[in-house]
Symmetry: C2
Subunit: 281 residues, 2 copies
Amino acid sequence: MKIFHTIREVRDHIGEQKREGRTVGFVPTMGFLHKGHLSLVARAKQECDLVVMSIFVNPLQFGPNEDYERYPRDLDRDARLAREAGVDVLFAPPVEEMYPRPSYTYVEVEGLTQSLCGESRPGHFRGVATVVTKLFHIVQPQKAYFGQKDAQQVRVIEQMVEDLNMPVEIVACPIVREPDGLALSSRNVYLSPEERKQALSLYASIREVEKAFAEGERNAARLIQMSVDRIKAEPLAEIDYVRIVNRRTLTDVETIHEPALFALAVRFGKTRLIDNTLLQP
Amino acid sequence: MKIFHTIREVRDHIGEQKREGRTVGFVPTMGFLHKGHLSLVARAKQECDLVVMSIFVNPLQFGPNEDYERYPRDLDRDARLAREAGVDVLFAPPVEEMYPRPSYTYVEVEGLTQSLCGESRPGHFRGVATVVTKLFHIVQPQKAYFGQKDAQQVRVIEQMVEDLNMPVEIVACPIVREPDGLALSSRNVYLSPEERKQALSLYASIREVEKAFAEGERNAARLIQMSVDRIKAEPLAEIDYVRIVNRRTLTDVETIHEPALFALAVRFGKTRLIDNTLLQP
């Protein structure tokens, strides 16, 4: 596995590989890798000749009161995991390489970024869309892999790629969970043992909603209430949102006639967790 | 010369050419070609193997009260001129091909787009940055050619390319003028004979400013006043702006110590003309 820290080096290397006819699969990450990230690598390896992973904690997608500074970082560990998973090229630029000067330019995906996580994280998706655009221009992959855990992020990036005619295919991969159901996230390390235990209520509530949905419940308000009740049973849980939205537009639905996204965000202390499932009638 | 109207066709063709090792130069236009456009083609032909021109009157960069509907169009004439100039690929998509659905995504270049033309044309540069991004993703050129007549546009696109790490080099080409000095523009056809005559005041005032500058005048206010006086001598001229700005930031300068852009926009009836020159101490 080759490791590069500069845009010029990674571009030159990938350019050579592409000229030799290799297809490029790209897994953008913020590092502190877990099995969710590695499942994206596994999928990319199945579909592409060269797998490129980026590790970059992007300041632009963090709000002023968010966890940019304390976001977990461990490049040595990440490099080992990436190598073992079969990553061919690891691109780990310092902040000054990605933002050498104050940036004037932003990619805005309107409409999709106001609701759900956009409400409590203003500017977050602008930061995501902008850095993903930059990374796509640097790596120029044929395919890029994202985890469905960040469902709104996937939807925003899909729309951006479509609207801006980006020559890349977005592949969304299923959520990977701990054996007890907690969705994998680099932020899980923040949780105290007690928070970790209570955080299981997210997936527990998702399974209850899936069960009621399978049994015919189509009323969004009732499904949401079911989930809210389950999560509120945990004293440390503070709900940010529990919503059922149209899969494409991310606007609230009342009755589920089409595939809908059931999505939730819950805080435990300083840690904000998200999870979701697709409800397909 | 090949003419394509769909993204898929033009992509396939250019992709083939690139795989055979050819470099691609791109000249994006709104058509109704004049010698300014053709000078970009000539430069592209010197520097690239394959010259691609797009002709697309982009609705996104026109304000609600602007001239989108009446903007001059003549694809047959344009195709003939492009072929004669040596264009290899002409991409002329209909609006539905570029915007098949309502678009959620915009590229915003902040700071540079508020002043000068941005003041009287809100949203204009957002439309330009967005469509140029789309076209770059479709054509994927190594170099792209723009006329320095639209100096702010060139600056906005240069900044966008830098900020978003777009893998393309922007080449700005000199203003091309009529023998009497009027800068070439597709909009010149709107001018009545009398307006056309009075419009010569733009370049006349630019030459006066250049002369005073060459003789040592460095005070921006005095140079601007000189130009304003000259243009106001024409009864049909309505000045939108006459400004001297920092070449990179496009913010007003008081005293010219560094290369500065002297830029003006003047209306004659419904027709808005722009012109500029670089003042290099």
